[in-house]
């Protein structure tokens, strides 16, 4: 199916008036240059923390700025702290406070899981670790 479409487009292209063809070629060239530039710039340049609530990405935090952030969980608000390219949960409401006890994380394969709150914090970096997943 895709090959047929390609053939029809190409036939149209060759039956075209040469000056129109040049205009099209110019735009195509421009398109490829942009494509190249975007593919190079796609990855984030900084280290970021991604905060998920249930299955939604709710917050993206730049880890180069030391600051505090608030996000919501099923048991109430969760307070996060960013310090020296690391992130931790400072305060949350849960029976055992496992995710605030965990402390700072800074590696791309580390996660903080606040199970009762259904919140997960992950780290994303451009030249991060090549580890795909971690078994614990």
């Amino acid at each position: 199916m895709e090959w047929m479409e390609l053939f029809i487009v190409l036939r149209g292209f060759f039956n075209m008036n040469p000056s129109d063809r040049k205009v099209i070629l110019f735009f195509l060239l421009l398109f490829f240059i942009f494509l190249l530039l975007f593919s190079l710039k796609k990855e984030p340049s900084n280290k970021e923390a991604l905060v998920y609530f249930k299955n939604e990405l709710v917050l993206t935090i730049d880890l180069s700025q030391n600051d505090f952030y608030k996000t919501k969980g099923t048991q109430g608000d969760i307070l996060l702290e960013v310090k020296d390219f690391q992130i931790r949960v400072v305060e949350e409401n849960s029976p055992k406070h496992l995710c605030s006890k965990q402390g700072f994380i800074d590696k791309s394969y580390e996660t903080i899981v606040c199970l009762p709150n259904e919140v997960v914090i992950k780290i994303k970096e451009k030249k991060g670790s090549s580890i795909d997943t971690v078994v614990k």
Binding site: E2, F13, Y52, K54, N55, I105, S130, V135, K136
Partner: protein, 336 residues
């Protein structure tokens, strides 16, 4: 010079045409081989489950994610011993009927669990619910330790689970599928994905990881977390189409009087096993890997090494009490 110039002029459209054709073909192949990642974060079986699929067909990938979520939801409900659902484990343990007609999925899961009782010389016992309930209560209170009388008052005989003809006969069973349900379900989910034509995936359900083919012709790098929980890794496993499962004393536990009591209970002593900090099992079979990680945790490391030699295609790495690592014979093949 002139002739070359006129030659180029004459055929420039042909050249440009060829370039365009090549570019189009290139883009077609790049698109065809570009696998986008589709992820889903789930919370079932008291754990965080991450599903990552790599596909070049968005619709198919999204449907598959939904399908996997449904599988985890169904098995979560069926194997849930703490919440009442239609003919689920809670209902069976309540034992209000003489027999129960079981959902075939729960029946198969129970049958699979029972098989491991014999294969492990009684170490893997799914009828330990009474004992694990007692420990769970203490873990939640975070104080005290159950007495021997309390623990040995439980009848954990596997013969109390009587299955026949898709029915379970009520014999006062108290079944706990915690040692098997996650691995079993990840295995079912992985099979489902392959059936749907999605071969590139990672499923991470707490300590249970299953990976399919790699998204980029390489191998997955699966880190094994250090039981010290300092964010470092014990080692990294490089493999595709494999399951990696850890059992450790550091995930669910409480401390009382300076002693740590975790959730992996030895049926013989009815106390938490204390031979190691953790053990990780590698196998193509995710169901087996989950059962084996529990079994190996419940026996001394040396005994475990011997036990594993009898089982084909399975490797393991143990982290001893002092942090020393022990590997089965073929484990190094998977390390970088």
């Amino acid at each position: 010079m002139k002739s070359i110039g006129s030659f180029i002029k004459k055929y420039i459209n042909v050249f440009l045409g060829i370039i365009i054709v090549l570019l189009c073909i290139g883009i077609y192949f790049i698109r065809k081989n570009t696998y986008l990642e589709y992820t889903s974060n789930l919370y079932y079986m008291n754990t965080y489950i991450q599903i990552r699929l790599f596909s070049n067909q968005e619709q198919k990938a999204k449907e598959a994610l939904k399908g996997v979520e449904e599988i985890f939801k169904v098995y979560h409900d069926l194997s849930n011993k703490y919440e009442k659902k239609d003919n689920n484990l809670y209902t069976l343990n309540e034992g209000k009927q003489d027999d129960f007609l079981l959902d075939s999925r729960l029946y198969d899961l129970l049958e699979y669990g029972i098989q491991w009782y014999e294969k492990s010389n009684g170490l893997f016992n799914i009828n330990m619910g009474c004992v694990t309930d007692i420990w769970k209560n203490y873990r939640e209170k975070e104080s005290g330790v159950p007495t021997q009388e309390e623990l040995f008052a439980c009848d954990i005989s596997i013969d109390n689970i009587k299955l026949s003809d898709h029915k379970l006969m009520n014999q006062g069973q108290n079944i706990d599928l915690g040692g098997i349900s996650k691995g079993y379900t990840t295995s079912i989910a992985a099979d489902y994905l392959k059936e749907k034509g999605i071969t590139r995936f990672i499923i991470n359900a707490g300590g249970n990881v299953v990976v399919g083919d790699h998204y980029n012709q390489g191998k997955y790098q699966i880190g094994i977390e250090n039981p010290n929980l300092d964010g470092s890794l014990l080692t990294v496993v490089n493999a595709n189409n494999i399951s990696v499962v850890t059992s450790g004393s550091y995930e669910r536990y409480y401390e009382y009087d300076g002693v740590r009591y975790h959730h992996l209970i030895d049926p013989k002593t009815r106390m938490p096993a204390n031979y190691m900090k953790g053990v990780t099992v590698l196998s193509k079979d995710a169901k087996m890997a989950d059962a084996l990680s529990t079994i190996l945790f419940l026996m001394p490391i040396e005994e475990g090494m011997k036990y594993l030699e009898k089982i084909e295609g399975v490797e393991a790495i143990w982290c001893g009490m002092d942090g020393t690592l022990y590997r089965s014979k073929g484990f190094f093949q998977y390390e970088s």
